[in-house]
């Protein structure tokens, strides 16, 4: 049989998780700390847009007739085709992300200052954009499973845990994005969040308004003031990342059990694990780099900036390896 899909599609199915994860992580971050300035949203929106556009270009380049790509967007006769639905969702999400970027610029303006409240129409539009972003991101996070489960050469995608793994790896990529954003650049958003919290809850600040640094304070962020608020945001992101890593570990374990009930998937998995490359990819990249290393780093040295950056990179590598393995095993 001709192998229909190659490395380009493997890259596509790995990369398509990044914008979903970033958007969902940004929505969670915005809901958890609503008074923060728009740096997290701005980074995640533009990164998600860039990755979506790159993934779309890859998808088009992989076509035997790239000029016919528009047919996947303009034909609505076969809505049972997951890849047709996915192409349309990608188009919708790109548009909604562009609207979100515009709204953010209107509300936020240049510099790191708190978001300005809009008028009633703007708030309605903003709410609609948030819901659309959430729905399209969730759909794109699990849509590779719907596509790959129909492919005869991807038996692992046709298991009960595959959708959960695709969702969790997308969320982990988003969490890695948040870790990176909080680890690099100025630490003003935490300070602003702390000011907002201080305004709202009467907490005392240190008065100078200087941004706290993760690596110049004691681990755990003990103390009061802006530094404490900034640390609170970072601690929340770290805790969420650790929770996702734990859930991912459980999902992988349950996927192992689910595979045992699927002879084709079990056969493919055993064959893949019997090879040095497959075993190294799973135990080395997915488990070692993607799960154990970031978890240990975030628990042992949570306040270190380089640990957060390293953990973020490791999570992206591990999650990508997990998605790639599901695509290639078989």
């Amino acid at each position: 049989m001709q192998q229909p899909w190659g490395p380009l599609l493997a890259f596509y199915f790995v990369a398509i998780g990044v914008p979903s994860g970033l958007t969902l992580a940004a929505l969670w971050h915005r809901n958890r700390w609503p008074q923060h300035p728009g740096r997290v949203e701005r980074w995640t929106i533009w990164t998600a847009l860039a990755v979506l556009l790159v993934a779309s270009v890859v998808l088009v380049v992989d076509l035997g007739r790239p000029a016919g790509f528009f047919l996947m967007l303009t034909r609505f006769d076969n809505l049972g085709s997951p890849i047709a639905i996915g192409a349309k969702i990608i188009a919708v999400k790109v548009f909604v992300l562009a609207v979100a970027a515009y709204l953010l610029r209107r509300r936020h303006g240049p510099g790191d200052v708190p978001l300005r409240p809009g008028n009633a129409a703007a708030r309605v539009l903003d709410t609609a954009v948030v819901w659309l972003l959430g729905i399209t991101s969730l759909a794109l996070a699990v849509y590779p499973t719907a596509v790959l489960a129909r492919a005869w050469f991807v038996p692992l995608a046709d298991t009960s845990g595959a959708a959960l793994i695709f969702l969790l790896t997308a969320l982990l990529m988003g969490a890695a994005g948040l870790l990176t954003i909080h680890a690099i650049g100025p630490r003003t958003d935490g300070a602003e969040a702390s000011r907002a919290e201080a305004d709202g809850h009467g907490a005392a600040g240190d008065g100078d308004g200087s941004p706290g640094r993760a690596d110049d304070g004691p681990p755990g962020g003990a103390g009061g003031g802006p530094r404490d608020g900034a640390e609170q945001v970072r601690r929340g992101v770290r805790a969420a990342t650790l929770a996702l890593l734990a859930t991912y570990a459980v999902a992988i374990a349950f996927e192992g059990l689910a595979v045992r009930g699927n002879p084709a998937a079990e056969q493919a998995l055993v064959a893949a694990m019997a090879t040095t490359g497959g075993a190294l990819a799973f135990w080395g990249l997915v488990v070692g780099v993607g799960l154990v290393a970031p978890a240990v780093g975030l628990v042992a040295a949570p306040a270190r900036r380089w640990v957060q950056l390293g953990a973020a990179a490791a999570i992206v590598v591990g999650a990508s390896a997990g998605r790639y393995l599901i695509f290639t095993v078989g």
């Binding site: 049989m1 899909w5 076969n78 047709a84």
Partner: protein, 198 residues
């Protein structure tokens, strides 16, 4: 279509006729004959199994195509409209039989059409006409008076990869159980193997 594996001799006349009819490029097939060796000396045997698009009732390729380029004809044939195909290869990924290939010249997905251009004019498909042992019977399975319906009713029939639940419309008379032996490509002869001559 009904294929009687009792009478197939693996001559590839069907493959050649199909290649000639559609000018199929080298290296790909719309219709071919798989062969598999089974058993051990002194009971070793070789089975020949002609394979082609099964024109399934629940065709995965038809459901998979994002551009709606694949359609079912009134006679049950599943056909690819070349003009609407952008070669995303999702149909190839969805087909458990590997019946769809990428035409390197036209840059479209291609497969067996059951020679609809011939059958519309009352002719038989090229592979059926070419078969020297008449192991292929083409006709309307829903017509109880047709030869194919009578043969299918008279003998037990099987389909390739029944676990895929696609309900193929290419049936086989397979008394020696050859179909399960070609479930994977690995059973075919390794042409690179060195023969010891023992």
């Amino acid at each position: 279509m009904l294929i009687d594996l009792n009478t197939c001799i693996g001559c590839h006349a069907c493959s050649v006729a199909c290649k000639a009819e559609f000018d199929v490029p080298l290296g790909v097939f719309r219709d071919t004959v798989k062969y598999v060796e089974h058993g051990s000396y002194p009971h070793a045997t070789r089975h020949f199994v002609p394979v082609l698009c099964n024109h399934c009732e629940d065709a995965p390729c038809l459901d998979a195509c994002p551009t709606d380029a694949i359609s079912r004809q009134p006679g049950g044939e599943v056909l690819i409209n070349e003009g609407d195909c952008n070669l995303n290869r999702f149909c190839m990924a969805a087909c458990p039989y590997g019946a769809i290939y990428e035409d390197p010249d036209k840059h479209v997905a291609q497969k067996c059409t059951l020679c609809s251009h011939r059958t519309e004019q009352g002719q038989q498909p090229a592979c059926v006409d070419a078969c020297p042992t008449n192991c292929r019977i083409f006709g309307d399975l829903d017509d109880p008076d047709s030869e194919i319906a009578k043969r299918a009713a008279a003998q037990p029939t099987a389909v390739w990869k029944p676990a895929a639940a696609t309900f193929p419309r290419v049936l086989y008379i397979d008394p020696r159980g050859a179909l399960p032996l070609i479930e994977t490509d690995g059973v075919q002869v390794d042409l690179l193997a060195e023969l010891s001559g023992e």
